[in-house]
Subunit: 226 residues, 2 copies
Amino acid sequence: MEIAFVVYDAFTALDLVGPYEVIAAWPTAHVRFLATEQRPVRADSGLTVVPTDTPASLPRPDLVVIPGSSRPFGPLQDQALLDWVRQAAQSATWLTSVCTGAGVYAAAGLLGGRRATTHWAFREVLASMGVDVSSERVVIDEPFVSGAGVSAGIDMALTLTARIHGADLARSIQLMIEYDPQPPFDAGSPEKAGHELVAATLAQFAASTDTPDLVQATLDRLAASR
Amino acid sequence: MEIAFVVYDAFTALDLVGPYEVIAAWPTAHVRFLATEQRPVRADSGLTVVPTDTPASLPRPDLVVIPGSSRPFGPLQDQALLDWVRQAAQSATWLTSVCTGAGVYAAAGLLGGRRATTHWAFREVLASMGVDVSSERVVIDEPFVSGAGVSAGIDMALTLTARIHGADLARSIQLMIEYDPQPPFDAGSPEKAGHELVAATLAQFAASTDTPDLVQATLDRLAASR
């Protein structure tokens, strides 16, 4: 089973590595890392990874994993990436995403009218692209499987493992990666974090993203909803 | 604040990338990736990363993060790595580990008599190196901060974030990475997984690890304890 983990400039590393650590443990997994060019790719916080493949060497994957980014608009405008995604969709049994990665399928014209989840701060954008956006942590609308923000990729990949290989393998991989989460705080969703923290986090985020207008619009909406 | 994320052949990528995604969001973080040689380093499931530094260019980090490995004995015998860890320990305020990474501090002679946690399947090994091994998910015994297996690095890093920068930043980062875990199964610890799954998982692991004798000993102990 050819697994294409997609990397592009400024991708978020945990979006990719969470599912990778789960899916690479499948007995049938042939793990590949695809970029549109064969050169090292730098994640948004500095980790640099080396792709194994380009579109020419991996035209027909069985499963695609697309991570998100804190600067999410770059990949949505990357025609070489979108061309490959459209081509890969013809062979792949599963098209998965984490975080804002769902936007890549939408930009490729594949996700219109389908259900998907994404990072909480990206829901409006994804909805504006014609997607039926959910706030669930994992959404399956075959062949699409989407996870919410960043760390949700682990839950997405375990859910998909169970779907493809059964619950026993999913539980075994969960045990091997000791995924018994004990977050020291309970602030992992906007609902749990509350208005003040959401606004403060977005304000901080606005300073570093490529979409300050978008973040400001979300802030304005939050302020109006209080 | 100079952060040294250590990479070595066959490290487990999620061990490293979990803490990286949290710590790189600190306002003071200067993120570095240290290897003993300046060449790409391949993780145990195939992800290849490019280090930014070698011991010569990063002699005095403020914080060290050492990941574990499914083939954990390599780094314990890497004298160049152990030499650097001993040197780094003289400047670093915090010496952190995930999974079997705690063994590197022990092999460097730094962790004897100190409390630490590690991957559940590595507890006996770490104890045999003179460490007071805990089964907790995160253990702080300053300057050491250790996380249990693989995914526990996220909890470790959020705990450390709160200790250094306060709970507000930890909660903000938790929200940004949408760390609201919803594992589809409850098999993330040996206690929760139960004997059958633990034994089956270890038997599968024995086929791929560099320590089949060690895994067999753990299996024998489990069988004897039933």
